[in-house]
Amino acid sequence: MIGAELAWQWRRPRTLVTFGALAAFAVALTVSIAATGSSTVERVGDIPLYLVPGRSGLVVPVIALSSTMKFFLPLAVAVFAGECVAGEAAWGSLRYGLARPVSRGRYLATKLAVAALLSLVAVLLVPVASLVVGVLAFGWHPLTALDGGASVTGGAAVFSPVTTVARIGFGTAYVALGMCSIFAFAFFLSTLTSRPFVAVAGGVGLTIVSRVLNADYLPGVAAVNAYMPNNDVDLWMHAFQQPAPTDGMVHFAVLQLVYVVTFVGLAWWWFRRKDVLT
């Protein structure tokens, strides 16, 4: 069932457009950096890191991941998760999918697996595409990061290309982990509504709420900041500091797990009981 589901989901226009847009972003970013002047120092993220793209193409995936993790990737993940069941309900094909000798649990598991796989591909596409385009444009050289944080004063960390790729891999995995809460919430909404837009908007909305209730910008919300699903998605950038602090990463992973268990569990509970009237 997963193979059949993946085969048609892969060919959907929204899948191709989403993947195309993310890959195009990598190209546009590289062209933009080259046009601006590749020797310009780029301030990346809230950590922040200062990187010079012209010295290594490996800077591009770091910038691309940092630029997409707060909106583009949550949007892509919310599209895949929010549409997977609600989209079928909107077309009227959900009732035919369920009027078959296939348990609802199996049906939902198939939808979950395929939406998760497409979301993972979306997250991987950003660093992979930008790595290829960045290296083609600026070369395969060691990456030099100037740490703008208070922990290091004027330090410059140099990473070999292999180490840089490994740390980009870690960053990608961390960002993928950070998308789990948004995925789970949009997936749950997808089982509630027959309007896919509502589920997608809900997933994006959670990201926005999380960003608004961020103690980095609004110290007064510190009490809830620790429970917001998306605020610490940028901690992977510490991997480009020396030494690389890991504070908050375990908390972030546990928080993602709590969101996933809660909302996928609710989706499971509800979908197995719901009346399919439309």
Binding site: M1, A4, E5, W8, R11, R12, P13, E88, W91, G92, S93, L94, R95, Y96, G97, L98, A99, R100, P101, V102, S103, R104, R106, Y107, T110, R272, R273, D275, V276, L277, T278
Partner: protein
């Protein structure tokens, strides 16, 4: 030993929220080989009953059995049933053929077992089967819906208002299609708010009103001395006209 009825519904009740009782203690039996019409006005509870029959809606009370097996979501007996309820529902950017293949695969059966070509031939889709579903006319969409219902030669065909919104030529073709399927021994449960349509298509009829079955049996028995089924219905309900 007599064969199990294709459909056996006892005391079926469905409440939607606290206020609405969509189905209210409905009893119905459909024996194999019958073409049973579920007739009644809009809002009588026909569609909800059919959705309970397909495991889409959970009953508040009562029992539903298909070929002697209790119905629940995903029950294996649903593999013996084909359905068209609330109109067709397909993936717009896939062709009709790919939609049917997908339907067969997601039902957990090999495409070859579904006998897709037979279903396509039965419904007269012709070369349109390879066009994108979104390019289909209303009538073509219903034909594809019927083709999906016929995949795998189901023993029971559940059709909920299968001619809604169709022009007379399409209605006639769909009626012929149903007659052809029934001649080959498939049991058909057909709902319609049009008494005239039920009278033309069905061998048996169950009249449903306010979620209850108020009369059922062979068509001639339910019509009785009345001029037609609509007149018989009006006699049964005392002048409350159905929508036709």
């Amino acid at each position: 030993m007599a064969p199990e009825p294709a459909v056996e519904i006892c005391g079926l009740t469905k409440r939607l929220g606290r206020q609405v009782v969509a189905v209210d203690g409905l009893d119905l039996r459909v024996d194999t080989g019958q073409v049973m019409g579920l007739a009644g006005p809009n809002g009588a509870g026909k569609s909800v009953t059919l959705k309970i029959l397909l495991g889409l809606v959970r009953p508040s009370a009562g029992t539903v059995r298909l070929f002697g097996e209790p119905v629940r979501p995903g029950a294996s007996v649903l593999g013996r049933v084909g359905a068209l309820v609330d109109g067709p529902g397909f993936v717009p950017h896939l062709s009709g053929r790919d939609n049917l293949r997908l339907a067969a695969r997601t039902a957990g059966r090999p495409v070859d077992d579904a006998d897709l070509e037979h279903a396509v031939a039965e419904t007269g889709l012709g070369t349109a089967i390879d066009r994108h579903y979104r390019t289909y006319s209303h009538g073509m969409r219903y034909r594809l819906g019927l083709a999906q219902a016929m995949l795998g030669h189901p023993e029971l065909l559940v059709l909920d208002e299968p001619t809604t919104g169709l022009d007379p030529a399409h209605i006639l073709e769909i009626r012929r299609m149903i007659a052809g399927v029934a001649e080959r021994g498939t049991t058909v449960l057909f709902s319609s708010h049009s008494m005239a349509e039920v009278e033309q298509v069905c061998t048996h009829v169950a009249v449903v009103r306010h979620g209850r079955c108020i009369a059922s049996g062979p068509l001639s028995q339910v019509v009785g001395p009345a001029a037609d089924l609509e007149a018989a219905y009006l006699d049964l309900v005392g002048g409350d006209r159905p929508v036709s």
